[in-house]
């Protein structure tokens, strides 16, 4: 119960317009991290091959950075214990990451989805890749092979639950986009 209140407060604080991005980022990262940890465990159980394809890299750590949020999602592709965590953008040390993939939240979701050709997203400049192209290519191939029919299928088997979660994610994503657009119009 106390955890839930703490989380809600953190999220609320993060949503306030006047909070500095770094603080917002850190609060959001804090709020998201437990969920990401669970997601990583479920994803590894459902798609062991996904992380296994990334282990050939020298440094199998990638960062996905959505334009609309002040945080970055880190993927550490250790085949025994893959890790998903969030850090504030300001806290992201790009030297410790093999590649950074930046883009609108919607586009990053499409990339993770595997339903849109990652090549197409990159070459049409809707995402930006910094650092190791090798890592980005490996990630793209790994996600593509996972055969996801939607982001939710990272954690859930294809079916009604996954569809529901998918819809919720899309709604949440849309909300974030609108908030971001409103904030930028000012």
């Amino acid at each position: 119960m106390a955890r839930a209140i703490g989380l809600t407060r953190a999220v609320g604080a993060a949503a306030r317009r006047d909070t500095a991005p770094m603080v917002r980022g850190r609060l959001l990262a804090l709020a998201l991290s437990p969920g990401l940890a669970v997601l990583a465990r479920l994803a590894h159980r459902r798609h062991p091959g996904l992380f296994e394809r990334l282990t050939g890299l020298e440094r199998p750590v990638l960062a996905l950075v959505p334009d609309e949020l002040p945080l970055a999602i880190l993927l550490r592709a250790d085949p025994r214990r893959p890790v998903l965590e969030a850090v504030a953008k300001a806290d992201l040390d790009t030297r410790r990451v093999a590649a950074v993939i930046r883009g609108p939240l919607r586009v990053l979701a499409q990339l993770a989805d595997g339903r849109v050709d990652g090549d197409a997203l990159f070459f049409s400049r809707r995402i930006v890749v910094e650092g190791s192209t090798e890592a980005a290519v490996a990630l793209r191939n790994a996600l593509d092979n996972a055969g996801l029919g939607g982001l939710a299928e990272l954690a859930l088997p294809p079916g009604r639950a996954a569809k529901l979660v998918g819809r919720a994610l899309r709604l949440g994503g849309g909300l974030i986009e609108r908030l971001h657009a409103r904030r930028n119009r000012r």
């Binding site: 050939g56 050709d117 990652g118 090549d119 049409s124 400049r125 930006v128 593509d144």
Partner: protein, 332 residues
């Protein structure tokens, strides 16, 4: 040579998921590679482990589809082990054919696994009756994949005299250089299709965002192409780069473009082509699904005597351009 034997559509499968997609979309055969330098698409995160290959062969055969394994790079001096292992495994796992290019690899396969069907890759650079005959006589190859640089007229002259089945490219990225004899990539990176199994390997590719919003694609230290803000970016494959000569910047070797020979299918069928190949093991499921379905439709239409529709595939073509390539003499 009768056309009674069905004409095959051969489709790329870079991952198990792409393989399932290709089969669902109508492939008659799929071609794959092991996760090492024994095949010419040795890209990070791509290709099949031995276990994945076994499952893939079972799945393909269960669906009535053939599976070919590409062992089409050149065995390294002092270390032919990986290539011999790949051939051994292809035979052991029950692949329908191994696609080979190296005389040494073909020799090993023919001597140790005479029952393993051998197809001759474009990497063998064998586009004449004489070269094909060499491989036929020495190694009993059953099929040759011809480079996409012969015109339809030349194919019509060559195929009836060819002692083996002929497979030609139908769709995919154009390699303008003679395959299997191109060292452009290793000149810059030390890795080429012949040395390491990849052209313009990702580990040597960097994209540089400039302050003015343009994106420079680099291979090694060389700027191979520059995309202005809003312009599509390109993968810095050397033969598709933008170069300066005589004070002019242009695609001195080749534009980024894709082969689409759908309109030539009737002529190619009449010439005796036995199989049509789609290039693209390094492309994703979305590409494979769309292209295989489109090519399936076109081939079926042509075989039924109808005109094959050049369906909308431009958006997945490289550089969003398509060409008939070498099939058309004007391209030379």
């Amino acid at each position: 040579m009768s056309r009674a034997a069905a004409t095959e559509l051969i489709c790329p499968a870079g991952t198990p998921a792409a393989l399932r997609t290709a089969i669902d979309a109508g492939a008659d055969a799929v071609y794959t590679g092991f996760r090492d330098r024994t095949n010419a698409r040795n890209f990070p995160g791509l290709n099949f482990s031995r276990e994945e290959m076994k499952r893939a062969i079972d799945h393909a055969h269960g669906s009535g589809v053939k599976l070919f394994i590409a062992v089409n790079t050149f065995a390294a001096a002092e270390d032919p082990g990986p290539w011999r292992q790949a051939i051994d495994d292809a035979a052991r796992l029950g692949a329908d054919a191994a696609i080979v290019a190296d005389i040494a690899v073909a020799d090993y396969a023919a001597r140790n696994h005479p029952e393993l069907r051998l197809h001759l890759s474009v990497q063998a650079s064998a586009s004449t009756l004489e070269a094909i005959s060499l491989f036929r006589r020495e190694f009993n190859i059953q099929r040759v994949i011809l480079p996409r640089t012969l015109t339809v007229a030349e194919l019509a002259r060559l195929i009836p005299r060819t002692p083996v089945e002929v497979e030609v490219f139908l769709f995919g990225a154009m390699g303008v250089m003679a395959e299997g004899r191109c060292a452009l990539s290793s000149y810059v990176t030390g890795i080429s299709p012949n040395l390491g199994g990849a052209c313009s390997p990702a580990e040597h590719v960097r994209y540089e965002q400039k302050p003015d919003g343009s994106l420079v694609s680099r291979l090694g230290r060389h700027a191979i192409s520059i995309a202005k803000p809003g312009e599509a970016a390109g993968y810095p494959t050397l033969c598709r780069g933008c170069y300066r000569t005589n004070g002019r910047s242009f695609y001195a070797l080749e534009e980024p473009t894709s082969l689409n020979a759908v309109s030539a299918i009737p002529a190619l069928l009449a010439a005796g082509v036995r199989a049509f190949k789609i290039e693209g093991r390094q492309r994703g499921r979305a590409y494979v699904g769309e292209v295989v379905a489109a090519m399936r439709k076109a081939l079926d239409a042509a075989m039924a005597g109808k005109a094959p529709q050049t369906l909308a595939t431009k958006h997945v073509a490289e550089g969003h351009h398509e060409t008939l390539g070498g099939y058309d003499k004007a391209w030379h």
